[in-house]
């Protein structure tokens, strides 16, 4: 369903989700700032397509509720600020596909407050010539047995730049928490740029935390392997690069998958 007046409170632009909902949201149509309060035991699936230049999304995820936010970035330079607070056994997942030829500055902070709360942020992104894409994704884990995951795959083309920071903080005395961060960026051309810093701040000792980061050009051995089968240099590079970006598609429905496919193909 489209987000309509029946559930949107126009005074503070908030939505109370008291039934499980699937919503297609265009921020352009309503406001730059929208809050979602998801009551206990509900599920919200939110597809966001259109943005303003400055956007703020806030999510309150109550007990045993689940929120999936799927975002396909469109053609507009923009800032996006995301805030989240997740209670016991609540879950929030972000899937962010960004292949637009526009600058992006995204800051996301999610507090995993409740026991067994979960949060994840996955992005797949291309920064084309003269474009900078900034991701600053943070999780603050207060709840016991909380878990977070930040996985980012990016490709910088020509003079494009991807700057990805992940900061996960597991607070003091939290037990059995799990945190994973993985950032991979391909520098497609000689002038391409990337920064990546997966950071873990751990103030507790009964936890599992992993972080990994890789920035580099395409693996020459992989390119050689594909070339031995007759693919020329550009086709081999295109196929490997798309292999980095396409896995995010599995979280989107058919129409959005097609849209992501066409965005990726435009870039290569």
């Amino acid at each position: 369903m489209e987000l309509n007046n029946s559930i949107l409170n126009k005074e503070n632009y908030s939505v109370i989700v008291d039934n499980s909902l699937n919503i297609n949201l265009s921020l352009k149509d309503i406001s730059s700032e929208v809050s979602f309060v998801v009551l206990d035991n509900q599920e919200l699936n939110l597809n966001i397509h259109d943005f303003n230049t400055d956007n703020q999304l806030t999510f309150y995820v109550n007990k045993f509720s689940k929120v999936n936010v799927k975002i396909i970035n469109d053609n507009l330079d923009k800032k996006i600020a995301i805030k989240g607070d997740v209670k016991d056994s609540g879950e929030i997942n972000f899937y962010f596909a960004d292949f637009s030829s526009n600058n992006l500055d995204l800051v996301s902070n999610v507090i995993l407050e409740g026991e067994n709360s979960k949060g994840s942020f996955r992005f797949s992104s291309v920064a084309n010539d003269k474009i900078t894409k900034k991701y600053n994704v943070g999780f603050d884990q207060i709840g016991h047995k909380s878990s977070s995951e930040f996985i980012g795959y990016g490709v910088s083309l020509k003079t494009g730049e991807i700057d990805a920071k992940g900061i996960t903080h597991i607070e003091k005395n939290v037990v059995k928490a799990v945190a994973d961060q993985k950032i991979k960026v391909i520098l497609f051309d000689k002038e391409s740029k990337a920064k990546a810093s997966p950071t873990l701040r751990i103030d507790s000792d009964d936890i599992i935390a992993n972080h990994a980061c890789a920035i580099g050009s395409l693996n020459e051995d992989h390119i050689f392997y594909l070339k031995t089968r007759g693919l020329d240099e550009s086709e081999a590079r295109r196929l490997i690069t798309m292999g980095y970006l396409i896995p995010l598609e599995e979280y989107f429905d058919k129409d959005d998958k097609d849209k992501i496919d066409s965005y990726i193909k435009e870039n290569f």
Binding site: E220, F224, G230, E235, G243, P247
Partner: protein
Amino acid sequence: MSELVIKNLHVSVENKEILKGIDLTLKNGDFLALLGPNGHGKSTLLAAIMGNPHYKITQGTITFDGQDLLKMTVDQRSKAGLFLGFQNPYEIPGVISADFYKSMINVRNENHLSLYKFYKTLEDTTKEVKIPMEMVNRSLNDGFSGGEKKRNEILQMLLINPKLAMLDEIDSGLDVDAINVVSDCINKQRSLGTNFIVISHYARLFDLIKPNRTAVIVNGKIVVEGGPEIFKRIDEEGYEWIKKEYGVNIEKEDKPMNSVSIGVCATKELAKNGTK
């Protein structure tokens, strides 16, 4: 018809000369078993023919069907009819096998295969190599077992239908049943007119695919050439007879132990005093 002619080929890797003057001609219908001790240049020869950029050709020529291979890019060599089955095929996460196969076939055909014909071909070929069709939807070699990777190489060979297939230890990591499957596929491809160079350390594979020629590389040179009797003798006697009969000193692959070694006391004592 296809003909591979290699003359006085010298190849270096990181300034170390591996091949020191290879002469070899492969004519139509030839099936060459390529043998030799580890580290003496067998895989280097196949990599050099295919155009691996890590291998520098310092001297010599390679022609294929009269074309100068050394002036051709890797993909041009492939399209000219060469195929290299890798000893350790690369895992490429994210590249879906079926997409890769489709690109591989389409670059060879001006008229691209229809989706139906492509999947029908793929279905038939996966049956031949006994790979479940579902595997084509997985990332290329990613998480495949050693045997699955080798079958995947054979699958690609069948899809490409090359003039010359070079298989580097295609039997390593295969169980008995899988060796039989791979052998059947090789024999089928041979019946279609493909020439072969096959590296293996085991006569079992050669017994099944029956090469008509054998060449043995030692110290970067082909020192013995002949028929199937050569690989049979190597299987029974190893390489020592080559040393005696041809006066070739077989260089060891491993470097001697340095005078300073890290280990437990007993190891250090053995290194210093010998086993006695």
